[in-house]
């Protein structure tokens, strides 16, 4: 199963403060361990929200709001995508991450095909119809 590990933003990440050499090398070592264990599928750090934007959908309209955004705690600064056998394993790996004091990191399971197998026959038939439609449009 896959987990997305969501690293929340803080004043430093939002302020564009570069990590220290020590922080950087600790994180590199950790990432290397994840790779060597065959756990890491992907992982990226994000620029501060000042370089991002939001698109709001309301009443049929799309409104674009440029960053930065103020509610720092709800912003994310980076993510990992891991392949593990259980949530417990993901938690154990996460506990080893070289985070800073006060950090809080969230992990969430990624939906995969197997999670949908309980879908009702009707839902599945609808999916098939939709897929057939897409196919015919492509042809």
């Amino acid at each position: 199963m896959r987990f997305m590990i969501i690293v929340k933003a803080n004043q430093n990440t939002e302020g564009g403060v570069q990590p220290t050499d020590a922080q950087l090398s600790a994180m590199m070592k950790y990432n290397e361990e994840l790779v060597k264990a065959g756990v890491m599928l992907a992982g990226e750090g994000l620029h501060p929200s000042g370089k991002g934007a939001r698109v709001k959908f309301q009443g049929g309209k799309r409104t674009v709001v440029d960053g930065p955004f103020t509610e720092t705690k709800e912003l994310i600064a980076g993510f990992w995508l891991w392949q593990v056998k259980s949530k417990e394993e993901a938690v154990e790996w996460l506990k080893r991450a070289p985070m800073e004091d006060g950090d809080e990191v969230e992990l969430r399971q990624v939906f995969e095909e197997a999670d949908f197998t309980e879908a009702s026959p009707e839902t599945r038939a609808k999916e098939a119809e939709l897929r057939a439609l897409l196919e015919s449009q492509r042809a």
Partner: protein, 412 residues
């Protein structure tokens, strides 16, 4: 199972291969090493729920297992001394503490090569690799391979005994031997992958999970042997094949052929990983090796945004190269399909007819099935019908027979 136990088992899963690998170097026996690691797990299950999980659980488990290993070695040595009480002074005993300080990566590699040692039959290599390196339980392996648990347990016991009796050295082979032995390791991993990939609807979920186990083993091996192009080649091949898992079956679990798959359902994280791994294999000079070539073929499909954009000429050239390094009638059949797509059905048919004349694929249903396909495109329907009938007779797979007969009906 209480939460604490689940957490401990997760720690153990992360650490067990490294534990066993390090311990095996001390005690020179993977079976004993596995027992010692299990003992350490038992101690952890007793202590951690009360004392809490230690800050560095891997080091704690290793220290615990190591103490037991040292006790065991001391006991064995005392026994020896009793037997040869008056023997002259032997060589200095190795420093047991120092023995565990070598690079963990080297130990893991030693374990990989030991589990896949040619002294073991193929199915024993697979079981031992999944058990000691993949961290699967005997029950899980049995479920994944649709075998009774006692059979797998027996197989594991016998494999460990064989390794001990043959006094297989706990080491990474060198020089020419390395190439040969690495091929055996890659074969074991790919076998596990294919076992998972061939799982069908209604199968126990442990079977498709084998794909993930194989991918994980391949990724670990790539980290341990970053300079070996074929390791990256195999990883690339598995990543790209696995990327199609979601698209391979329809809503009623019926198989969907590659060219008819909804490419939007392909896993693009895995495709990207596969293309990266292939680039590494090629950069290391491995472009003409068997796994890298197969990965390159898979990559052609992965890169095409629609099946109509497939670069068939390139695929045909890659199959020609594959025929040169690993000639086989099945590869030739695939080459015929690619040539048929690239240069037209007549060119493909010419290859197939040559292949059919060798008789090598007389019992293989895909030969007449592919031939029928080309004949239909050429408008030679009588011959196509005969081939479809033959293919339907030859296939062992009921679902496939239905498809072949439906195709037959559609041109009758």
């Amino acid at each position: 199972m209480p939460d604490a136990h689940r957490a401990i088992e997760a720690v153990f899963r992360i650490e067990s291969a490294r534990l066993i690998a390090g311990l095996a170097r001390m005690v020179r026996d993977v079976g004993v090493a596995e027992e010692l690691a299990q003992d350490a797990l038992v101690v952890a299950l007793e202590r951690w729920p009360e004392d809490g999980v230690p800050d560095n659980p891997g080091a704690w488990l290793m220290a615990t297992a190591k103490r037991r290993a040292i006790d065991r070695l001391r006991r064995a040595r005392m026994q020896e001394r009793k037997h040869e009480a008056l023997a002259t002074v032997g060589p200095e005993a190795p420093d047991l503490e120092a023995m565990l300080d070598d690079d963990v990566g080297d130990d893991l590699l030693r374990l990989v090569f030991t589990c896949c040692h040619p002294v073991l039959p193929a199915e024993a290599r697979v079981a031992l690799t999944l058990r000691l390196l993949g961290g699967l339980t005997t029950a899980e392996i049995a479920r994944a391979f649709l075998s009774p648990e006692p059979t797998v347990a027996q197989r594991l016991v016998r494999a460990k005994r064989t390794l001990a009796e043959a006094q297989v050295p706990y080491e990474v082979p060198r020089g020419e031997q390395l190439t040969e032995r690495l091929a055996s390791v890659l074969e074991v991993i790919y076998l596990v992958f294919n076992e998972g990939y061939s799982a069908t609807a209604g199968d126990d979920w442990m079977r498709p999970a084998l794909c993930e186990d194989a991918l994980r083993l391949g990724r670990i091996l790539a980290g341990l042997m970053p300079a070996e192009p074929e390791v990256h080649g195999l990883v690339a091949l598995m990543e790209i094949q696995a990327s199609r898992t979601r698209a391979r079956t329809g809503p009623n679990r019926e198989p969907i052929l590659l060219l008819e798959q909804d490419r939007g359902r392909w896993d693009h994280v895995l495709i990207r990983r596969g293309l990266d791994a292939l680039a590494r294999a090629e950069a290391l000079g491995g472009a003409r090796r068997p796994y890298a070539l197969q990965a390159a073929i898979a990559a052609c499909h992965a890169r095409a945004r629609a099946s109509s954009e497939t670069e068939w000429a390139r695929i045909a050239a890659l199959y020609t190269a594959l025929m040169q390094v690993t000639p086989s009638p099945v590869v030739e059949l695939n080459r015929a399909v690619a040539v048929g797509m690239a240069l037209g059905p007549a060119a493909g048919l010419a290859i197939i007819d040559q292949l059919a004349a060798t008789g090598a694929l007389d019992r293989y249903h895909l030969l007449p099935a592919v031939r029928a396909d080309l004949l239909i495109k050429l408008g030679r329907l009588d011959e196509a019908r005969a081939d479809l009938r033959l293919a339907a007779d030859l296939t062992q797979n009921a679902r496939e027979r239905v498809l072949l007969l439906a195709r037959l009906a559609s041109i009758s």
